[in-house]
Amino acid sequence: MRRLRRYGTLIGFAGIVAAFAVLLPDTFLTTRNLLNISQQVSMLAVVAFSMTLVMAMGDFDLSVGSMASLAGVTAAAMFQAGHPVPAGILAALAVGLAGGLLNGVLVAWVGILPFVATLGTLTMFSGAAFVVSDGRTIFGRDIPEPFAAFARGGVEVAGVTLPALTLAALGVFLVVWVLLEHTAFGRRLYAIGGNAEAARLAGVPVARLRIAAFGLTGLGAAAAGLMYASRVASANPTQGAGLMLDAIAAVFLGMTMSEEGEPRVHATLVGVLILAVLANGLTQLRVDSYIREILVGAIILAAVGAAGLGRILGR
């Protein structure tokens, strides 16, 4: 029973992959398609991984999507103004870190609920993205070739080209994994999420850790925004908007896999992959786009439902 509870979602994922492998024998489980999937999902993955940091504390960050947009247009606007590529990237990351720290301060010091605080900054960052870009898409000659080339590039390993975006996402995964699973910082984030009162009584510096975690999440969102801009060789003030809900969904999907329902970054990875594989596979099956939406919802619920049922029956 406990098995079913913990591995329900994983079994669901395996089921989805198996189904597509059978239905699309020639195209689904090919190296090229798998690499494509990994690349398509890399931006969402980076946001979801860094979202896991704040969710480990039991918090949320709704502003990641608009932060990704803001970071993208910030870099693009820097390029447009003639600054070199590293300057643009640094500026975007600095904006991400600053925005994330602002979220942290609002939550930890001013004492605003994370949901409200980051909903407020979501609106502000989105407005700022419009102001920075003047509401336009920045593209073409304004985007330096080396910047756009990054997303097209990759590293050749044993005859296979691992896309640069995939590698970037893996890098973020590793960093978050080490942070959460193997440092005192991460363990304290879990302590806050598991029992904030206990953490406070035990002398864990709750406010400082919260601010740091939100800062890192902002940084991650900015990195995702840069990856997105590089991939589409352009930046517009709304392009990150879709990332937020999907990232939270991925973390929650992962949370069904842990005993006490806490978010773990490797579980988030599974959540991200479920979303990506469903999108890719159903499109290849040429399922009608409307029906596809219904199916995605139903399949996610079925995958998670097994886990949930396990919990109920095991009680």
Binding site: H182, T183, N195, A198, L201
Partner: protein
Amino acid sequence: MRRIEFLGLSRAYGGQPALVDVSLTLAGGEIHALMGENGAGKSTLIRLIAGVTRADSMRVRIDGAEVPLASAADAARAGFRFVHQELHIVPQLSVAENVALGRPLPRRFGLAVDWPRLRAEAAAALARLGAVGIDPALPAGRLTTGERMLVRLAALLVAGDAAPRLYVLDEPTAALTHAESARLFAVLRDLARDGAAILYVSHRLDEVMALCHRVTVLRDGRVALAGPTLEIGRDGIIRAMTGREPRGAARPIERSDAAATAARAPVCRLDKVAAGRLSGLDFTLAPGAILGIAGLENAGQSELLRLFLGEGRIAAGRLEVLGRPRPSGPAEAWARGIALVPRERRAEALMPGRTITDNVVLPHLGRLSRPLGLARARAEARMARDMAAQVRLRFRALGQPVRSLSGGNQQKVVFARALAGAPRLLLLDDPTRGVDVDARADLHELVRGLAARGAGVILTSTDLTELLELGHSILILSAGRQAGLVPAAGLTPETLLGAIYRAGERAA
């Protein structure tokens, strides 16, 4: 000898003083008891010196030197260590991490946690408390209540940044068995012998008399009495706590109460019932009877009580409650007059953020409402006020959140809820945990009164004295099996403990 002085501690909540100019001097090598009725201000004092609640005024001197104490970090730097009243563990983290919570973790390469060392340190601390059965790698969420308390206690004992000078424990034995408590006392005596000061809060007078050198008694947030324990004596402590003369010993058990009603239909009847870990349950509870369930920690006491709520699947045998098959779930149970005081007040009983009224009337809303489920706020308040008076709750307003009550008073709210409907079967799972001596006697009186009016009562307790004071007969559980059913008359805590262990050995 080291002296730690806390001078002029004051703190008010919303204009109501909880502590008024309290001073306390602790000496290295001494175990100092802090006593007082529920709500007297003990936990408040401890939260102030732990730096987790802001004091309105407070000065701290260690060996004459003033030290700052504004945050938990300050307290840690001063070498103060705490076990607070409510069980504060993080279920998601491993036992080892809970033991080290808030301390710097051992590291490798200056970054990654050194797991083997962390576990070894936790295992050593647990071993010192005799808790060798707890695996430091296990998620703490899987532990039982008693084990969780041991984990918190172990946290006192691991090495930290500052050498520990003061250990503070707020009702640590409330969740421990006799054996575990004995172990803890030995460790505390060791720590004191090594020169540490210890501040110890408990409502169990026997413990205090046996363990503590000095005692400070709080009443209504002020120091009522302070001095050497032996000089003051039991009665002196009670007098200082309550401001009244101590009552006589507990009323002798009146078997006539039970006998008068024994003729009527039984409250519940179990016929060779097996369910989950439980087996061989075979007894009848007559109206007016109080049955105590005794057994080692985790012998299945809570599961037994929950059977009557409709929880757990019955694998064999027959269970009848109030003349019918048992209810299908808690909702039906309460509706049929079965009431429960659960074991864990925070996790299983209270809605901490809701008002006293909300907490008391919750299971009785159906009866209190008009047709169409329209609520009657006035009737609800009346019930809450009546019950609060019966259990002698100390509160500011019925509309205050239960969170802001003292621990013992929170427990009384749970009791008030269970007694409110004049239940016909009352299930009590360690019901007076953290309740002061005087209030405990009151609650016992209420339970006896209910039984005298024909209700059946089934009771568990980690405190064997309580079982024997209340119970007419005692059912001994051993690893879930009914190992004996004996009259309480003539048993002493020692003979009962012997019987429990003998049953345990037979089962093994």
